[in-house]
Amino acid sequence: MSIVTVQLGQCGNQIGYEVFDTICRDLHNTQGFCCKRENEVYQASCKEHFFNEEKSGVPIARALLIDMEPKVISQTLLKAAHSGRWKYGQHSHFCQKQGSGNNWAYGYSVHGPKHEESIMNLIQKEVEKYDSLRGFSTIMSMAGGTGSGLGAFLTQNLRDAYPNSFIINQIIWPYGTGEVIVQNYNSVLTLSHLYRSSDALLVHENDVVHKICAKLMNIKQISFRDVNQVIAHQLGSVFQPTYSPEDSCQYRRNPLGDLMASLVPHPEFKMLGLRNIPQMSENSLAYTTFAWTGLLKHLRQMLISNAKMEEGIDWQIRPPLSGLPALEKVLPNKEFHFNTSIANLVILRGKDVHSADLGGFKDPALYTSWLQPSDAFSEWRTHRAFNKYEKLAALVSNSQFLLKPLDTIIGKAWNMFASKAYVHQYTKFGIEEEDFLDSFTVLEQVVASYCNL
């Protein structure tokens, strides 16, 4: 029943901390909008997934912290310990003295092999603590060197060492305008390698989360902490315990497996996007009430029109009428009209959850022709509320959500590659031009596949 979270690099560790903090706070939330007994079962399930019990009573996060330089890990360990509510294990981290320098090749070809044994030992020790390991969730950015390069190497290793466990990579998609100049190279190399070894890639876009902070949360001076907390909330809304009517009416024992089964029917399609509704600051929460019909109507339109958040949705976009010939092939650089899905999962949490009508998501027009909605659409309903949101809906979607961002990154990386700029930094550590070309090929294939839905 356990999921091991592997936090990689500065981004992975900073976000990982917020995820466990959010989960822990939700755990102790008395505003569950359900009865005490229900709350207790929820809490027990949550603890089983994410924490180890310790004699001292302070739960220990089921996480490993990995980075090639020490500053971020020290900060993260300290912050967790200070919270008093949870902490990281004493021997759950691995770090070195010098980082990967934003160099994917260095992370993959130098740090990876060099520290392979130590890191895999660390993981093995953690895994041995559990009766049943369900899978791994890695948190990493694509733009840097450690999360991306070492992350790709590690994912391969995990796949080889634990062939029966699920692997989901939480990938942080960098801001379009530079955090790192070579971010497009690093992203292309990361995605192409992960595609081979991972089960699913759940993508969080910095630009989108930033807009959510600005427009929906009304934060004036947005810090990375704000961005990370939104991402943590979104992840929590997916991975916190969900009720499973199939599974003898108790909390789902294998959320990761169920997620994969629902959303990834074909290995060519692994890019998952995430949308949440509603999304607002904690202050506003107390004064707002929502109805499921309104929320779900917006969420459905967000899916159809590929809106990134609940503001500024284009209501003109409609699914194609059934019976008419299929729409012409969508090209990524043309204006998008309709977002075709392969599979969707809607997670509902909170009050009156059983009265919510999800019929709109079962419309066959939303989906590609080779899957029936009964196979393509899944729903998880839980009446214990999450993170003080009286009603919350999360959509995990395997659709054309990420087609445009992916195409954009490939375009920019290709443009840079054509001039051979920065390539010497990669060939220095064993990533040759052919490796770049292989990666481009893999990703162009992914783009073409999603285009042809």
């Binding site: 980082g99 100049i181 700029a421 920065y422």
Partner: protein, 476 residues
């Protein structure tokens, strides 16, 4: 945490170095209130228990006993180094870190490189090894020198070669002070061009500095301080302007100190994100990775803002935005160059203090339309956020640009070189040195020409319409 070693060579190198160490100590003193030897101090300083026998034992944790700079002080004259050893910084250096001579290099690159190079090679290697042994993870050498003289220029670049041979994995960042037009050393063009060849071939990254620019900046600060405009009082502890004593006094009496402080601050800000924590760290190896798209184009134009802290406590966002705008103005660059009107290959913004990602993004959006970036790097921005501001400031910004605006500096240098070389003026001073031939000169100027040509090729593309290369065609 990785460590860095500073190698200061020649009069200029050592004077700038002295300012750097003074500023570094004061920065750490302001941040490190408990006197614990922490990771950030470890970067530039050893912690030595000098009570124990002779050498003193390195103490890796706990309270600070005695800090020793990770530095080598090299000069072929004794004056400057002696002054340092007798001054307030004497305790952070020890005799094993020095190499001095009495005769000087006579403003002759050949003497510095060939004569003193071979004479002191073993000593240099030995002392470098010792310094490296005190580091558990040596990441970077910072070389500080001037290009126009003999020791800094000649011996300094000789040492650059040694570093590459002995420590090939360790980065070599060079801070080079370029001679100005009215340099009083007649042979400075020869020395500079000969040194440039070495920088081209053996440095990972060069930060050129011109005295003229430093002087202009200092004059500007002087103007701001004495202008008497309301709200423009400079805070006394402002790190940019002084070591000790009053501002006015310093600026008038010792302009070089203030100028050197700017360079010292450059190095501090460059390494701040590696030493201190922040929400988006930037290590030194990330600088070369992001800012050097092709191996020979490793010259970075730098600018520091703000120049001094104004006494108002509340910094409105406009003031913050002004800091970003200033970083791109030609008045704030540390060489005589105008990046705004030339072509950017890459740009890094290292921000310190109470600045968040949204401030950074807002300013990048605002400024990028007025800047020209090369076609294959339209979003060529590398950014970092360090939480610890410099002493006396609430925030600061260091901008590093790989920009073709540096081309005029090199063209000017080549012109001055050619003027002398055509007439073979003073050439005999060089050729009489063992190992020096005319080919050294022709090779050096050829290296410089090829560098200028690379920048020309890029400049030609500026303003041309951009055609994206065709993407791979996938058949399903």
């Amino acid at each position: 945490m990785a460590q860095s070693v500073v190698v200061q060579v020649g009069q200029c190198g050592n004077q700038v170095g002295r300012c750097f160490w003074d500023l570094a100590l004061r920065e750490h003193a302001a941040v490190n209130k408990k006197g614990i030897y922490d990771d950030s101090l470890k970067n530039f300083f050893r912690n030595v228990d000098t009570r124990r026998n002779g050498d003193g034992v390195d103490v890796s944790k706990g309270k600070i006993c005695s800090l020793k700079a990770r530095a080598l002080l090299i000069d072929m004259e004794e004056g400057v180094v002696n002054e340092i050893l007798q001054g307030p910084l004497k305790d952070i250096f020890d005799s094993k870190q020095l190499i001095t001579n009495v005769s000087g290099s006579g403003n002759n690159w050949a003497v510095g490189y060939k004569v003193f190079g071979s004479q002191y090679q073993d000593q240099i290697v030995e002392k470098l090894r010792q310094t490296a042994e005190h580091c558990d993870c040596l990441q970077c050498f910072f070389i500080i020198h001037s290009m126009g003289g003999g020791t800094g220029s000649g011996l300094g670049t000789f040492i650059l070669n040694v570093l590459e041979d002995e420590f090939p994995e360790v980065y070599r960042f060079v801070t080079s002070v370029f001679p100005s037009g009215e340099d009083d050393v007649i042979t400075s063009p020869y020395n500079s061009v000969l040194a440039m060849k070495e920088l081209n071939e053996h440095a990972d990254c060069v930060l050129p500095i011109e005295n003229e620019s430093l002087f202009d900046i200092v004059s500007k600060i002087n103007q701001m301080v004495t202008s008497g405009k309301p709200g423009t009082t400079v805070k006394p502890e402002s790190l940019v302007t002084l070591n000790e004593g009053g501002i006015k006094k310093k600026l008038q009496e010792k302009p070089f100190d203030t100028m050197n402080n700017i360079v010292g601050n450059l190095l501090l800000n460059l390494t701040s994100s590696a030493r201190f924590e922040g929400s988006l760290n930037m290590d030194l190896n990330e600088i070369t990775m992001n800012l050097v798209p092709f191996p020979q184009l490793h010259y970075l134009v730098s600018s520091l803002t703000p120049l001094c802290t104004l006494a108002d406590v509340n910094i409105p966002p406009r003031r913050l935005d002004q800091m970003f705008s200033d970083a791109f103005s030609k008045d704030h660059q540390l060489i005589q160059a105008d990046p705004k009107h030339s072509l950017y290959l890459a740009c890094a913004l290292l921000v310190r203090g109470n600045v968040q990602i949204s401030d950074l993004r807002r300013n990048i959006e605002r400024l990028k339309s007025s800047l020209h970036f090369v076609s294959w790097n339209q979003e060529g921005w590398k950014t970092s956020l360090c939480s610890v501001p410099p002493v006396g400031h609430s925030h600061s910004l260091l901008a590093l640009a790989n920009n073709t605006c540096i081309k005029p500096t090199f063209i000017e240098l080549k012109k001055r070189f050619t003027r002398l070389y055509k007439k073979k003026a003073h050439l005999h001073h060089y050729l009489q040195v063992d190992g020096m031939e005319e080919s050294c000169f022709t090779e050096a100027v050829s290296s410089l020409s090829s560098l200028i040509e690379s920048y020309n090729e890029l400049d030609v593309t500026k303003g041309l319409p951009v055609h994206d290369p065709l993407r791979l065609n996938i058949v399903i």
